[in-house]
């Protein structure tokens, strides 16, 4: 269990660094994980050059989904939107540093799914946005 709930995950769940709302924002998107009722809303401010200047998430859910969102916001600040589009499932797993079964993988990937749907300007967030294969 210590492997699973690494200190980092518990810490970012309890003390998120990037929780909040940006108003106005250049890109906003939100979605739910119907399996567990996790909800993630993401706001980005993006410069003329396509670089993410500020990123915030809001929502509710399990430690995995919320910590994953918090770490993802930290990761993308300073990245170009084209780089953001390239973030993969494996990047998220590396970021969390844990192995996840198929059910909890959905929790971990919800924020990436929401982020990518927003960055691509899609109408809805779909699983194929975060499938590597």
């Amino acid at each position: 269990m210590d492997d699973f709930y690494r200190e980092l995950i518990i810490d970012r769940y309890k003390n998120p660094q990037f929780r909040g709302v940006l108003d106005p924002a250049d890109i906003s998107f939100e979605d739910d994980n119907p399996l567990c009722g996790d909800h993630i809303h993401i706001d980005l401010r993006v410069g003329e050059d396509g670089i993410v200047r500020e990123a915030r998430f809001d929502g509710k859910g399990c430690a995995i989904s919320q910590a994953s969102a918090d770490l993802l916001m930290e990761k993308i600040i300073g990245m170009h939107l084209d780089e953001v589009k390239q973030i993969s499932k494996q990047d998220i797993l590396d970021m969390l540093g844990i192995e996840l079964g198929p059910v909890r993988l959905k929790c971990a990937l919800l924020s990436l799914k929401v982020l990518k749907a927003g960055v691509y300007g899609l109408g809805e967030a779909t699983d194929d946005l975060v499938e590597d294969e």
Binding site: M1, F4, Y5, K14, C36, G37, H39, K60, C62, A63
Partner: protein, 416 residues
């Protein structure tokens, strides 16, 4: 800790030996503590072996083949139907229709009875504690026919509001479809009284027995229910087999649901004559081995005795409620033990239900976390998800102690 009288009439040690999976370790040195029978029950050796024996010795398609295997398979399939009839005290095995599960049984009623008997403006009465399987089929039908759906409200304690039920009956619903036992809070609804009241205003009644039929005696004649739906896999049987019981006059007036082989008497190019009950509703090759497996499950449960099983689960849930109440920051949903079956749902301040389940899994304790296919009830309680422990005939008081200890580990880890 209060003193508990830990009594049960079941020989649980012996019962556990009947379930091979209960002997396994989920990880080296960590035995399985299975507290998720509300989702699906484990299977005894007798069920596994009955299905294995069928495939090894008697496998054939049923009803038309004229050879030994086909005759044996047909006899075993129909014998399973008779076992279900006896288990439910149904008047005739023709009123026992094999479906895939509870959901399909409810959909059968919605599409066959509902589409032919309901019209725009008719009211279907449901409750706020329904599983999605007894909500969504009616949403789909309401959209198609312009039905009006009404819901009996649920109290904070997790009980149906009797006064609200009586008010809603004054609207003269055509159908009252409700759960016998909540899969989230465990509430056992007073089905017999509610069915009688619904009948007084002329409503047809459908009882979702997914959580009741596996756990206590359900007598369709005593209940006087019009339709009863349940699943085999929650009562020690295999997945893929469920049952719809219906009153004969209703089933006879209903058009077929699915069309195909076995459900016809005669087919010409352009027309068909439907078969008699129950075959009218069993299109295509059914789940033969699964039906026979369900028959074996009914034999198993009957041998142990449904009343003894219900008593055992009641003792477990009483104990679990008392022990969980000792844990600070744990909020338990649902009524007191005397009004419920073996289900306990709870949340912990500061820890999501999925995290509770994940940490418990590390201790080998298998529970469920989520909305348990009852999102409206969770909305009512204003929580996204609950953690749910559920009990069956093979669970022990010891396992509840393990659950409690594992919950304390969650608290330690999350510092709450």
């Amino acid at each position: 800790m209060a003193n508990h009288i830990l009594t049960t009439t079941l020989d649980v040690k012996k019962i556990r030996e009947d379930f091979p999976v209960l002997g396994r370790q989920v990880r080296p040195g960590v035995p399985l503590i299975y507290l998720d029978s509300t989702a699906t029950s484990q299977k005894p050796t007798s069920v596994i072996e009955t299905m294995d024996r069928f495939y090894r010795n008697s496998n054939a398609n049923i009803h038309r083949g004229i050879h030994v295997l086909a005759e044996e398979a047909t006899a075993a399939y129909e014998e399973a139907r008779e076992k279900v009839r006896r288990f439910l005290n149904a008047p005739s095995s023709r009123q026992v229709i094999f479906t895939r599960n509870t959901t399909e049984a409810i959909n059968l009623v919605a599409y066959s009875w509902g589409l032919s008997q309901l019209k725009s403006g008719d009211i279907v009465l449901l409750t706020e504690m329904e599983h999605h399987s007894n909500l969504v089929p009616w949403y789909l039908l309401a959209e198609r026919l312009g039905l009006r759906l009404e819901y009996v409200s649920v109290s904070d304690e997790g009980l149906l509001d009797v006064a609200d039920f009586e008010r809603k009956l004054e609207l003269k619903p055509k159908l009252f479809a409700f759960t016998h036992m909540s899969n989230v809070v465990g509430t056992i609804n007073p089905a017999k009284e509610m069915i009688a009241k619904a009948h007084q205003v002329g409503a047809i009644t459908l009882l979702d027995g997914a959580q009741s039929v596996p756990h206590f005696r359900v007598d369709v004649r005593d209940l006087d229910v019009d339709f009863l739906a349940f699943s085999g896999h929650k009562m020690c049987g295999p997945t893929g087999i469920g049952v719809l019981y219906g009153k004969k006059d209703l089933l006879e007036q209903m058009p077929p649901f699915l069309g195909g082989g076995d459900m016809i008497k005669r087919v010409t190019l352009g027309s068909f004559k439907p078969n008699e009950l129950p075959y009218k509703f069993e299109a295509g090759t059914p789940a033969i081995a699964e039906a026979i497996g369900l028959g074996a499950a009914i034999d198993y449960l009957s041998r142990i005795g449904m009343d003894a099983i219900a008593q055992h689960e009641h003792a477990l849930v009483s104990y679990a409620l008392d022990r969980l109440a000792e844990i600070p920051n744990l909020r338990i949903f649902g009524p007191s033990a005397d009004k419920k079956g073996g289900v306990v749902s709870f949340v912990m301040d500061g820890v999501h239900a999925h995290d509770i389940a994940q940490v418990l899994d590390q201790s080998g304790v298998a529970i469920r976390a989520g909305h348990h296919c009852a999102m409206p009830l969770h909305e009512k309680f204003q929580i996204p998800a609950t953690a749910r422990a559920s009990f069956y005939l093979y669970n022990t008081f010891d396992e509840i102690d393990h659950l409690v200890n594992a919950i304390y580990r969650v608290k330690d880890l999350f510092g709450v």
